[in-house]
């Protein structure tokens, strides 16, 4: 069907007179053939976007107000799903954990890569080596990183406690302690994802014009003053972008808590996405899961909107 639709106009174009520069408004029939062509190319992608992006977005809103069990017809229940989810003690825990995780990831995963990139930009030897090494953990599958660190955090023969013992420091419960579990997961996520951030910072640093540093130095600015008054203002935009992207990414954290702690101990590492997963696949409560998804979507949507707004603004300026 589509194949014949594609073939025929091919011959038509060969006979057609050569168009002048911007394609002129041809006769209706030719335009129709052009449109059929364009849509033949678009069709596959369009169907996939419709099915797996646009339709689920609409359904999330619909199901959030329904009692939905696969196989039986859904019932409208108003805001029941929302009130049920809000009363769940895990709800508050999940949001608290997610926000703490995001904040900690921002503190650690934000300053450290910037400093690393600053130093790497000054290094004049083995540049390629450093770049490869810092990006290596990103290429290791996240599940492997999580399992690897779960083993490191093992209270018995785990590497983390061995290192502390080696340095004659008191050992820690790491991911098994209610108060240290979340920080332990932030360390894993930072280790696994830092490479990309460092590389992007490095690229941004390389675009800082050298004359600015020279001028600053002539004015008597020391190292710290040059960082503060040249480097940071010059890379301000990239820093802000990466910060927003990181917030959006870390608020959707799932693999680390699922693999390393299973949400425990005492719900200390249940995240919002983890709770969504639990509602859907443990409680079989898809209405509740969609209500939660919708809340997460609104919060993340705000950050996304801010991100797009800023990138567009900077693009025009």
């Amino acid at each position: 069907m589509t194949k014949t639709a594609q073939r025929r106009p091919v011959q038509a174009t060969t006979v057609r007179p050569v168009p002048a520069h911007p394609v002129p408004k041809g006769r209706g029939r030719r335009r129709l053939a052009d449109q059929a062509h364009a849509y033949a190319f678009l069709l596959g992608g369009l169907i996939c976007f419709a099915l797996f992006s646009w339709y689920p977005a609409i359904r999330a809103v619909v199901i959030a107000f329904q009692k939905y069990t696969p196989g039986s017809s859904p019932e409208w229940v108003g805001t029941d799903n929302f009130s049920r989810v809000l009363q769940d003690p895990e709800f508050a825990a999940a949001w608290r954990n997610t926000l703490t995780f995001t904040l900690l990831a921002l503190l650690i995963g934000f300053a450290v890569p910037f400093v690393l990139a600053l130093v790497l930009n000054e290094v004049r030897h083995a540049k390629a080596f450093f770049r490869v090494v810092v990006y290596l953990p990103v290429m290791i599958p996240p599940v492997v990183s999580a399992l690897l660190w779960k083993w490191f955090y093992d209270p018995g023969a785990g590497l983390a406690n061995e290192a502390l013992r080696f340095a004659h420091l008191p050992t820690s419960n790491w991911s098994n302690g209610a108060d240290t579990a979340l920080v332990s997961l932030v360390i894993v996520a930072t280790w696994a994802n830092m490479g990309g951030t460092v590389l992007i910072y490095l690229a941004a640093l390389q675009s800082v014009p050298g004359e600015l540093y020279e001028a600053a130095e002539l004015d008597g600015a020391n190292l710290w003053q040059r960082i503060r008054h040249v480097t940071i203002p010059q890379t301000r935009f990239v820093i802000l972008m990466l910060m927003l992207l990181q917030i959006i990414a870390t608020m959707q954290v799932f693999t680390e808590p699922f693999v390393i702690t299973g949400g425990g101990p005492e719900n200390a590492t249940v995240t919002v996405l983890y709770l969504i997963y639990k509602y859907a696949f443990l409680y079989n409560d898809f209405g509740g899961a969609c209500a939660l998804s919708l809340m997460l979507l609104v919060v993340l949507g705000l950050f996304s909107a801010l991100y797009l707004r800023l990138t567009r603004f900077e693009g025009e300026a």
Binding site: D34, Y39, F41, L46, P56, P141, L147
Partner: protein, 291 residues
């Protein structure tokens, strides 16, 4: 090559500067090796140790005997050939579907001026604003019971392949690249009698090799590393990819075997990275400065 950075070349040339530079260099080298390479080294050597040796405190820095039984056990006990086969099929299919359908759609949006093209592009880009993971439950429900045809794609690689196409980032990357190809080039091909498919195949695609490479790597890596989506979609243990199988099996197999399986699971991605590191690193760095 020598662009001026934070520290001036003159300052580095001074005797004191040289000492400081090499001190900083050594510290950075040790720090990077300890932070990023050592955990990986620990994983590889852990897989080569005996079960006793892995559990020993204080641990041995180098295995007493380099054993390969962890790897062979993982290969046989965990049925890694089948699991890796599943992963390869899922990744390759997703790559192919994305390459064909995203390229065609991006070409249409960039050069064929479809009616409502800007509306479609807007709707595609809007999905960038919606974080993918937040919609994973309604997406699962859609895949479990496709609208109109009421078929379930659960436990079918199509459940990975088709949603992979709905990747706004890759589509946009391709479209932006196609936008840069001058219209004159395409018109010249048209004058020579090439149809749109022919133009795409013989003119546009050969010119787009760099961007196709980037999209290919992104597509393969994304499927190989994904966890939540395959965890939801493949309940049948015989069809699960490596990431899901590792977690499901991690509870009841010996530690050394698990670690060996983790090493094996990482090899394809690390190899891909080492081979294409220049392109990958350049791609990441370039993506940022454009904004």
């Amino acid at each position: 090559m020598s662009t001026r950075t934070l520290v001036s070349p003159a300052a580095l040339g001074r005797p004191g500067g040289k000492v400081t530079y090499w001190t900083v260099f050594t510290v950075v080298l040790v720090l990077f090796t300890a932070a990023f390479l050592f955990p990986v080294y620990w994983m590889v050597t852990g897989a080569a140790k005996s079960p006793d040796e892995v559990a020993r405190t204080p641990p041995t820095l180098v295995p007493e005997h380099w054993r390969s039984s962890g790897f062979t056990d993982a290969w046989d006990l965990m049925q890694l050939p089948r699991i890796l086969g599943n992963t390869v099929v899922q990744a390759a299919g997703a790559w192919l579907f994305q390459l064909v359908l995203c390229t065609a759609a991006a070409y249409a949006l960039s050069k064929l001026r479809p009616a409502f093209g800007t509306v479609i592009l807007g709707a595609v880009l809007a999905t960038l604003m919606v974080p993918a993971q937040a919609l994973v439950v309604p997406k699962y429900l859609t895949v479990a019971d496709l609208p109109l045809i009421h078929t379930s794609l659960l436990n079918d690689p199509l459940a990975i392949w088709l949603p992979a196409v709905a990747n706004a980032f890759n589509l946009y990357l391709l479209k932006r690249f196609f936008d840069q190809i001058p219209r004159d080039v395409l018109e010249a091909a048209e004058i020579d009698g090439a149809g749109r498919l022919r133009t795409l195949w013989s003119i546009v695609l050969p010119m787009s090799r760099p961007v196709l490479g980037v999209v290919s790597i992104f597509a393969l890596v994304a499927v190989w590393q994904d966890f939540l989506w395959p965890l939801m979609v493949f309940s049948d243990t015989g069809k699960q990819p490596i990431s899901v199988a590792l977690v499901q099996l991690s509870q009841n197999i010996p530690l050394t075997v698990l670690i060996a399986a983790m090493v094996i699971a990482s090899i394809p991605m690390v190899a891909l990275f080492l081979v294409f590191q220049r392109h990958i690193i350049a791609g990441i760095s370039a993506g940022s400065t454009k904004g």
